[in-house]
């Protein structure tokens, strides 16, 4: 067991899998000699060479579309989109092609591939280097969407994603790359897709989050503990397929639910969680299903005062907990 950063865990996951399975290739912008703008693929090109670590032109649709074809013909591509904000040119390939290939061919074809992308704000990235894009893709059956919050989960879920038989979008909050550390075992392990984790037990309400918000939810829960509020925290880890049972079990136990997400509030992923809880745990609820989320501006503004205004943080979540607990 060793203490690793979030990005070290991801890099290790990639290296370990590429050593295990020579059909795995990595492709994207600057993933080669440079090792990626965040260094997630650092060292891969030196070890695996040009054929398995491919620097692409600035062509996101090609990165994804070529990965689909490569997956059809026996490779396991792990594509990197440099920032999640730039995934939109590939939207058609992901939604019209990757997501539907198995379904539309009645299981004749599939495209086992992973598309990694750093997302999220709080790093002075402004409108085009801060976006949370998960809701665009969690809406689409056929795609799996994974957002790990710890180094342990990042490595274990990345392994599972690479070995999965369907396309997986793997979003990594860029603020966590070097700020989050955690224990990562030396040996091989995986974390299954589609399983949430209760990361803190509590009795009065359930806080549901993922990615950076899973950490902020824990911080918020600790802040309100002294005030006599017992909050349970659920880290979703995989957004689709959703582990509905873990979510519903927790809410049925506590009777209250606060959903936290960094993306714009309206129509965000947390809206679906809220709907499921309202629909399937209605008789257990002692208060409204509530949300703490980003404001409904098109994207994160740059100036630090404005960015702080945009970002969900532990104090905003703690305030949400206090209000809901008092309801």
């Amino acid at each position: 067991m060793a203490l690793k950063t979030y990005i070290e865990a991801i890099r290790e996951g990639l290296v370990d899998e590429m050593r295990r399975d020579e059909s795995i290739i990595v492709l994207g912008e600057d993933v080669g000699k440079k090792g990626g703008v965040f260094l997630a693929t650092d060292g891969l090109w030196a070890e695996f060479g040009d054929e398995r670590v491919i620097d692409t032109p600035l062509t996101e649709s090609q990165i994804v579309g070529t990965s689909i074809g490569a997956a059809i013909n026996g490779l396991r591509p792990v594509a990197e989109i440099q920032f999640a904000d730039f995934i939109h040119p590939a939207f058609n390939q992901l939604v019209s092609e990757a997501a539907r290939l198995r379904y539309r061919s009645n299981n004749g074809y599939s495209c086992p591939m992973v598309v990694r992308a750093p997302y999220g704000g709080g790093v002075h990235g402004a409108l085009y280097h801060s976006q949370s894009v998960e809701a665009f893709f969690t809406h689409v059956p056929g795609l799996k969407v994974v957002i790990p919050s710890t180094p342990y989960d990042a490595k274990g879920l990345l392994r599972s994603s690479i070995r999965d038989e369907d396309p997986v979008l793997f979003f990594e909050h860029k603020k966590m790359y070097r700020s989050v550390r955690g224990d990562v075992p030396d040996g091989e392990y995986t974390v299954p897709l589609g399983r949430a984790a209760v990361t803190r037990a509590g009795t009065q309400l359930t806080v549901i989050g993922y990615g950076l918000m899973a950490h902020y939810a824990l911080e918020a829960a600790e802040r309100v503990e002294d005030e006599g509020i017992s909050a349970e925290v659920v880290d979703l880890r995989t957004l689709r397929p959703l582990d509905k049972e873990t979510v519903l079990d927790s809410v049925r136990k506590t009777g209250k639910c606060l959903v936290v997400y960094e993306d714009n509030r309206f129509g965000g992923y947390g809206a679906e969680i809220s709907a499921i809880v309202a629909e399937e745990a209605f008789d257990y609820l002692d208060g409204p299903v509530t949300r703490i989320a980003g404001p409904d501006v098109p994207a994160v503004p740059y100036n630090h005062v404005l960015e702080d205004w945009f970002m969900v943080n532990p104090e905003k979540i703690a305030n949400g907990i206090r209000k809901l607990a008092a309801y």
Partner: protein
Amino acid sequence: MAVPDRNLQHPGAAVGLSVDDLVEMYRLVALTRALDERMWVLNRAGQIPFVISGQGHEGAQVAITWPLRKQHDWVAPYYRSIATCLTFGMHPRDIMTAQYATASDPSSGGRQMPGHYGSHEHNLISVSSPVATQLLHAVGIALAAKVRKTDQVAMTFMGEGSSNQGDVHEGLNFAAIHKLPFVFVVENNGYAISVPAAKELSVEDVATRASGYGMPGVVVDGSDVLACYAAARDAVDRARSGGGPTLIEAKVTRLTAHSSDDQQTKYRSEEELAAEKQRDPLPRFRAQLSDAGVLTDEIEQRLAADIKAAVEDATDYAESQPDPDPATAMRWVYAEEWPSETPPAWGMGEAGGHGAAGGHGETS
């Protein structure tokens, strides 16, 4: 008058095709035409709701697909690729079950519109409706072929209208950079539904663009089957031997409306449509082979009977096949079933209204 020796001086000899090859190529062109015409009859009779066809494209499709190795190489077809699909191994029944969207339709099990062919068994990639996306899949297949050293070639087909999509630019650039075993075929019929080529392209030939990517671009007469074959053979040889991709543009004619939902006389004159019939590859190829003595009356009569029987069989078979069962419609979203993704009973629109179908509040 001397009868030409059909085994020595036939028109395929110059491009390395045998007499048997020529007869089989002709059969495929004629079979595709007959199937295609049957599809329109069925549509007009109210049997199938939609037809999109390839009449006028068949000669180019058969000839360009011909040099590929079946069940080894790969094809990413498009919605007019009926002749390509038949040449690459699909059966007339496979084409017709797609028109009827039966459960047994190998392309999609009745999930897709007619014209969206695909066959895992034959390395024919499933067609979608957004145009040109398949080019990137073929490029990816070619990338995998190069990385895995499988000696495979990937070929994709589309119209000149689709060739303007951004995915084409991104894919050709990447294929040329990596010298991938890839062939890009543009079937230029002069129209993107109703928009004429002059409003789609600022150049006469799509093939002109190839040089901008650093690959050869070849223009061939799409009604000249043997010229199409020669161009494709060269491109496939170049791809397989590590010489990189080629763009082949076949100038074809679209003998029908864009689809059964289109009325082409609104934008094409009667004179134009009459003139275009002169570019039909089927009578031209038939005359070429007859004149050379390759296609004797006896052979032609046999082929005509075979084709008629094949079309009848495909139609009867497809008509007899059951619709897909709605109980299977949730299958193959993913490789596995995810029970946790199942909505509550009322979420599926069952009769009885909210909460009536199994909610825990059900007491009566």
